[in-house]
Each structure stands twice: as C-alpha cells, then as structure tokens.
Symmetry: C2
Subunit: 546 residues, 2 copies
C-alpha cells in the first residue's frame, strides 16, 4: 500500500527539471525518456494482469481508506514519476477493479482492445480541444465525418443527404458528449426547446425560462414518457431541465419488460384530453440497463408520429448492435427516432468516457445554440456552439480510428459473441435446478437468481402471501451470494431489484450479467455459476450450524 | 492526406485476430507488441514536434474537408493499427493545432508535462468507471482524498474538518466533472435546489419542477447575477436549468473589468424590493475568460452573506493560482464562496478534459442526489450519486499523481512564470508605438490591439463620433491581423470583442494572450509582436497599392 509520506529530501521543485517535463522538440534524448516510462506503464500493467486474473484483492474499502487520509498537498515533489507509476501498478491496480477480466461480467464496463489505449494516448498527447476550431482544426472535420458515419448507421438516409451535411458548417448531425447521461440530457434539452419554441413576443424557453414558456403556451406541466425500465439519468435530466423528475412518467412494461404500448397510447390520450400538460418526448430504450430489453421502437415511433411527439431512443447500450447484420433487426425502428443516444465506452469498446447523440433533422440542434465573443462566433465551424460541453477531448479520433481498424464486421464479431453467449448462458441456467432465469436475454444482458427447488415449489404454490415471503427470503440469499462473490474477488456479477410485472410490492433481487468481453466463454460462465452454488451451500451450512 | 479508401484485400475481420487485440495476460509476447505501437506513437509525435515548431499547416479547412467526405463505415478493416497511427501522425497532427508550441499563446489550452500523457495512458488501460464502487473500488477512495486536498487548498478548514470528511461516505466535498461548464452548472443546480427546497407539501424543485417551485415560494422569476465578463456557459446553464438564459443578469464592470460592487448591491436591493424574484446565486469570477480579471471576491462574499445568497466562484481558470504562495492573495475571498469551479485541464495542466466543483458545506450536494436499483444505492460509497455525470473516467488518479510529482511548488513555478511573463509582455506592448494595451494583466491573460500612432491620435481627440469610426477601422485591422497570423500557422493569439466600459456600442476587437506554456519567453513574444507589425504593414501596403 501507499506509504504515508515517503518524502526524500532531494526532491525539490526546480524550474529546469520542470521545463524538461514539457515535451521539447529540441532534445533528442527526450524520446528515450518518454518511451522508458511508457514501457514501465505497459509492462507493469501487463505483469499485473498476468498475476491477477480475478477482479480485485480481497481487502475491504474500510481497510483501504485508512491509507488515504492525508488532505495536504506537499510543497515539494513527493515522488518521482517512476515511483508514482510503480505505486499505481503495485498499490492501486490490485485494489481497483479489473474490468478487463473475462470473469467480470457484471456491468457495461468491459475489457477494451489494447489499441484503444494507444489511441487514447495519441489523443492525450495532441491535447486538442474540440470546443473550437482554433484548438482543433482538422479534428473538427474528422469529428463531423465520424458523426455522419454513425448517423448513417442509424438513419440510413440517402447518399445525397450525407453529401450535403457531412461537412456542412451550418448543420449538425449529432454531437460527442461526456456519456449517456449527457446524451439523453441533450436530446431532452433540444426536445424541450422545440416544444416551447419562440412565438410572437415569447423568445423561447431557453431565453425566458420555463415559467414564461408555460404561460406563453397555456401549459401547467410538461412530461416525458418512458418505460419503467428507463435509466435513472432520465429522471436526473428531468430535474435539471426544470421539468421536475416526477414528471418523467414511468409507463408499465409487458411480461418481457418492454414498454406496454396500450398503456403508452392510453397515457398520451389521457394527457391530451386533460389539456394542460405538454409531452416533451417519448423515450424508447434499445437495451435497458437492467435487463437489456429493446422496446418496440417501430410501433412507438408510429404512436409518436401520430401524436406529433419527439421520439427519443436511449440506445446508449444497444446502439452498436446496428454493426451486426445478423442482429441489427433487433433495433428495427430506431431509424424513425428524432434523436438517439449511443455510448462509445460501452459497445463501441472505447475507453471511458464517450457519449454521442444523433438527430434525424440536421438543423434541430439550432435550438440549443450558443455563441461567445472570443470563440464560437456565429457561422464558425466551432463544434462547441451546439453542445452542452465546453472544452472536451477529441474522442472522435478514437472512434474514427477504431472503425478503420475493426470494420463493422469486427464490431459485429463482438456483438454476436455477446448475444449468442448470453443465450447459451440462459440455457445453462435453465438446466441447473439451483437457479431461475428471470429475464431471457434479447441482447447480451440476462438476469437470474439463486432459487433452489424447495423455494421454487413455494413460489409456484399460487398463494400470494407465501410467494411474497419466499421472495423475501430469496432476495436476502441473492444479495448475500452477490456480495460474497464480489468480495472474494475472483469473479463479478452485479445485482439489481426488478419489479415483477408493474406491481411495486413484488420486488425481486436478481443477479445481472452483461456479456461484453470476447474472452468470456461457457467455461468461465460455468465456473461463475459453480462458485455461486458453492457460496449458497456455505450460507446454508453456516445457518444450520449457528 | 488521407487516401480515400486504401482497402487491402487481406484485411478481414477475424475472430482470432480480434481476440489478440484484447489484452490477454497469458501471452508473453503481447508485451512487446504493446510497446512497439506505443513507440510508434511517442517517437512519431516527437519527430512531428521537431519538424513543426509552429501551430498548424497553412492549409485551409475547406481544402482539408474534401478528404473527409465519406460517410460509410467499411465492412472489413480498412487499415492496420500501424497505418492508422502513421496517418494520425503524418496527416492529422500537422493539420491539427500544435497547442504544445510555445508560440501558441491564444487560448487556455496549452502544452502539458509529458508525464500527463503517461498518466492518461494508465487511466485508459485500467478503464475504471468512477460512477460506482463496483467498477472502481480503491479509485473512489483516491478521488475522495484528492477532492479533500483541493478543498483544503481553497477553503483551508481546520484539520478536524478533513479528518471527518475525507473518507466519509455520507458527505461530499466536491466532484470531478467533465469541465468548467459542468462545474458551473452543478453549482447552480445545487444552488437552485437549495433556494427551492422541499417545504410543507412541496417536494422540492428537483422533483416537482420550476413551475411548482415558483408557486410554492410565491415567486415569478429567478435570476443569477454575474459580471458582464461571465463565461457564456453560465447563460447555457441558465437555459438548461429552466431559469432562462436572459435571467443570468450581467452586472456592469469597473474600469479594470471587475464587477462593479455598487451596481451589484443596487441590483440586489432592487430585486428584493420588487419582491417577486429570487436570486439563486451571485457569481464571482477568478480569472475571466477574456481578460483574466479577478472579481473582488471578499467584498462579494460579504454582500452575499448579508443577503443570504449562494456565492459561487467561477475559478475554472484562476483556481490553481492558489498553489503559488506569491500570488494566491490575488484570489483572496475565494474561501468564503459557497461553491467553486476549477478546471483540471487548464492551469493544473491535465489533459482534456477535467473539471471540478467544490462546496463549502459537505452536505449541500445532497440536493442533487440520485439513486438507482442496480448501483448507487442509498448509503453506498458510489461517487455517482451526487454528480451530474454517469460513467466517467478516473481523472482523479491523474491529478493525484501530478500533485505528488510536482508538489505545490512545481505548480507555483508555472503559475508565477505565467503571471510574471504576462506583466513583461504588457511592458513590451507599452513600449511599442504600434500597439495599445487594452487590459493590464491581473493574472496571466492580457489583451491589446494594433493601434498605430495616427489612430491613437484620433482616439484621444475626444470626439465620440471620431472615436467610434476609428475603433471601427481598428477592429477591422485587428481582425485581419489575427486571422492572417493564425492562417500563416507560425504563432497564434486569439481575438475577442470587448465593450469599453459598459456601453455595448463601443465594441473593441482585441488580441488576447494567455501565457501558460513555461517555454514561452520574451524572445518568442517579441517575435509574435514583430510578426503582427509586419502583417499590419503588409495590409497597409496592399491597401495603398490596390
């Protein structure tokens, strides 16, 4: 662990030493230095991975935190670069989470191809700031091109459309943002501003605010409709935008966890009848966070179109499935969305963190346009004029390069592996009497729980009271199994709380798996299930003997 | 330039090749491969810097954009990694902007110490997701420690305060965010939610929205007060939060571009008297974007305290001046702020992009707390519960390491160099008859303009009409000088539009310099001024001969 202050007297901040740390082209030997440290980084991390196939060291956060109690910044340098790198590899990495392990199948964070690290290094070394042309130049053009490529993947507009817009400085096909949260926020921000656009004396909601907007449009409330499986960041966006997070209305789901179309239509009808509420957007989900479910996008688009409502698709997780010819039909209807959120750091396998948002209309982002005197002047190519972010890194270079290195077929291999392995995983669970499959995977996410035969019997007895108390016991068991497995550090699945149907009283703790790592295979999955069975048996043994 | 499709028939997406790109600990030779490519990255960029001391190649964006017109994602891999890296170095870098050049003194984006690139590489390779403990573990603890270190730098609370909060899982001293825009937004979001906190039947603005909040509090409007020099992202935040960007009220500035305290006090008084408007926050600026001015923070804090108003300081640029014992008094009063925004990618010299926001009260961020079923459950250590962002990279590891490598004295050397060189730069401008210093640097930003003696005479003639028409001519000249210098690609200063005093009719185009690169010196500055003089003379010569 980090030693508490390891001050060596010879470390003194000095100007000459400092200047040497800035990349100076004049000094030829600087090359060797740069590489020496990078070798330490790469070999060190590589050795670490050889020694740690598991997830993390079995040391609790409480134990760890005693080493991180010092709130003082040292006056003089505390450590040399080589020692800092060594500490990161020896002391931090083992207690971080080895998300690159094929045994880590619990979250949407995964192993990434090694070249992503090299690409990120290039982006860091170039240190372009894409907010404005003056700090990015050609990178802004690259970004517009990548945005067009993904836009085309989603919307499949005719060639002429892309010829017109790909490098058009007046239109925007989408934007790179920090992540899925920002992407969804941006889409709702645009949708809100379109609903409350300027009219007559009213300058628009962006300028005058929500109160004035409601007044100008004779409205008392506005809402966003999304299935009960919607990501929590949508509520956050509702709070931020001044709509109020309770006005992100959860719509019931069907037995397959997809939005209930009847219920959606009825809700829209009721709201329209009531007359004082505006619907800012309906959100379809292409890969829910908890169950990987894809909503019936095509039918949702139809409903939205009939009612003149902005249709947003949160494809933060599922978007890249479009790269697979074999499975892209799972997202059918996404091309009808007015806006689509896709994460780069999920199934595009980019390093943390990169989100994107796309819009069907190349002028709709004008609704959130801002200018400044020193940059981003009207008519400029500055990409920052229509993004939430100010300064931001050139993540588009990484995606552009990755698309060239992998091709869509390369991505398809990853996507197909995930979906197909998840199906085999589900079969394996169905084969084992100790487990119950809770959600069948549509994409590469599945949920299940430890549910031994004796509990299964109670559940199927039909008595609601009996069922509820059994679920309560099972919830406790599954919570324990997940925690014990996580703390042991060999493998990792996550857990979440699902509502059976739409009744919030029937809450079921489930184990949740996301299959993204191409090195994860059935052998590993069986090991993980075996470990869970063993943990469960230990729990029972201890209970019986205590 | 990039060749339009250079498809080699042998490039086919294949599963075995793909698996090899995922870092596999079993394969010893993978080490060598990783390093080989990194050598290509680092040596390539280093060679590039030797050849290009300037800013960018003299090729217009229009010319460049013809190479980036293809909107198709190739099915098969287009290029091998080595070729992609080669293209980035040979074709992209020369047409990007060499922000590492000491001749690049136009924006807050600068050269960074080389070790920052190594640290970013480690962060990318570990690929931790700090939104939750399950994908970061010890990194969450490191982040809390760094937040405490910077909090202490700003607020200087007693040791016991930090002992209590540094690793406290129930309190939060601040947050890492995407950048200054997110940092300011987060502060205003918190301030808005505190002003419209739950009371009686009202569940709070976050839940019920702005309309209900105004009703519950008997308010018709709310505003944020900030000097005319406030960053444009504050207006964006106002638009996003539903307040309306026209309610970000610009307060007049004094002759030194600092907020006019009289005017601030009077505005507050007027608003209070009117009775139907709530002031969400007053914002002081520690380093305005355009002129580097620091507002009188101490007195502003006093005014806010007397009036019970949230006092936010936008120290996105200026914050790290606190690392310099010599100049930290320039930010006196910052410790009285309720919240402070500081950027990591500006004067902490971190790679793009990293922002931070700090709060005096360790519980105030509860006002924006969110939970989910699958992570970030109540009471968890998950850092994502009180940030705008969801998934995000572990930038705290970079700052933590940089603080250890540099010490505060190391940062002080950089800060002092910038401030002192800016002063000498100002002296040099004052010495040259061709230029006029427009704003004397308080920190390391100064503005000036080309203003030859004959124009200076017109300006001082005292006739307002004459002055206005002279300014108009000068504006055109300075616009041209800046553009021609930028396009030539040898050096770069930016330009902006300043209002003389508070009258929006007297707009003056100024050249703007930000001195951050420690390799920038007076020799380079004189060269840049010489080039500007030469460009001006060329303009005059051409005008006289056309």
């Amino acid at each position: 662990m980090e030693t508490k202050k390891n001050k060596e007297p010879e470390l003194i901040a000095d100007r000459q030493a400092l200047l040497r740390t800035f990349i100076t082209p004049e000094r030829e030997e600087a090359r060797a230095t740069l590489l020496k440290y990078m070798e330490q980084v790469l070999f060190g991390l590589h050795d670490f991975l050889i020694q740690h196939v598991g997830i993390t060291q079995e040391k609790s956060l409480m134990e760890l935190s005693v080493y991180f109690q010092d709130s003082n910044i040292s006056k003089n340098p505390e450590k040399k670069l080589a020692d800092v790198i060594k500490d990161l590899i020896d002391d931090i990495a083992p207690h971080a989470v080895n998300v690159a392990s094929p045994y880590f199948i619990g979250h949407m964070t995964s192993a990434i191809p090694f070249f992503m690290v090299h690409l990120k290094t290039i982006v860091a070394a170039l240190n372009q700031n894409v907010v404005k042309l003056e700090t990015s130049k050609v990178v802004s053009v690259v970004e517009k091109q990548v945005l067009a490529k993904i836009h085309k993947l989603v919307y499949r507009k005719p060639e002429e459309f892309y010829e017109e817009h790909i490098q058009n400085t007046y239109t925007t096909l989408g934007a790179f943002v920090e992540g899925g949260t920002s992407a969804n926020l941006t889409a709702l921000w645009v949708a809100r501003n379109i609903v409350f656009a300027p009219k007559g004396d009213f300058l628009g909601i962006e300028s005058e605010g929500l109160q004035a907007a409601y007044k100008a449009y004779g409205v008392e409330r506005c809402v966003v409709l999304v299935s009960r499986r919607g990501h929590y960041s949508l509520r956050k966006a509702g709070g931020l935008l001044g709509i109020g997070n309770q006005n992100i209305i959860p719509i019931n789901v069907d037995a397959k966890h997809r939005i209930d179309l009847e219920c959606l239509s009825q809700t829209i009808k009721d709201i329209k009848k009531e007359g004082k509420t505006k619907i800012i957007a309906v959100i379809g989900i292409a890969g829910t966070t908890e169950t990987g479910t894809v909503d019936p996008l095509e039918k949702m688009a139809e409903i939205c179109s009939e009612n003149g409502i902005h249709f947003h698709v949160d494809a933060a997780f599922g978007g890249p499935v479009l790269m697979s010819d074999k499975y892209k039909n799972l997202l059918a209807g996404i091309e009808l969305a007015d806006s689509v959120a896709i994460d780069g750091h999920k199934q595009f396998y980019m390093p943390m963190s990169c989100g994107m948002v796309y819009f069907k209309s190349p002028t709709i982002m004008d609704a959130i346009e801002y200018h400044a005197n020193y940059v981003i002047r009207p008519g400029s190519v500055d990409l920052g004029s229509k993004t939430f972010s100010g300064s931001r890194e050139a993540n588009s270079l990484i995606l552009d390069s990755a698309l060239k290195i992998m091709g869509s077929n390369g991505y398809a291999l990853l996507i197909n592996h995930g979906i197909e392995l998840a199906r085999r995983f589900a079969d394996e669970i169905n084969k084992r009497t100790m487990f119950q499959l809770v959600t069948t995977p549509m994409l590469n996410i599945l949920t299940y729980r430890v549910c031994p035969p004796e509990y299964m019997k109670d559940l199927s007895s039909g008595e609601p009271e009996n069922k509820r108390s059994t679920n309560k016991k099972l919830n406790e068991i599954n919570r324990d199994v997940q925690r014990i497995q996580r703390e042991a550090g060999k493998s990792f699945v996550s857990r979440t709380l699902l509502f059976e149907g739409n009744n919030s009283e029937d809450r079921v703790v489930v184990l949740r798996c996301v299959i993204m790592n191409p090195l994860t295979d059935m052998k590993i999955i069986k090991e993980i299930l075996d470990e869970q069975e063993a943990i469960y048996k230990d729990i029972v043994f201890e209970q019986e003997n205590s």
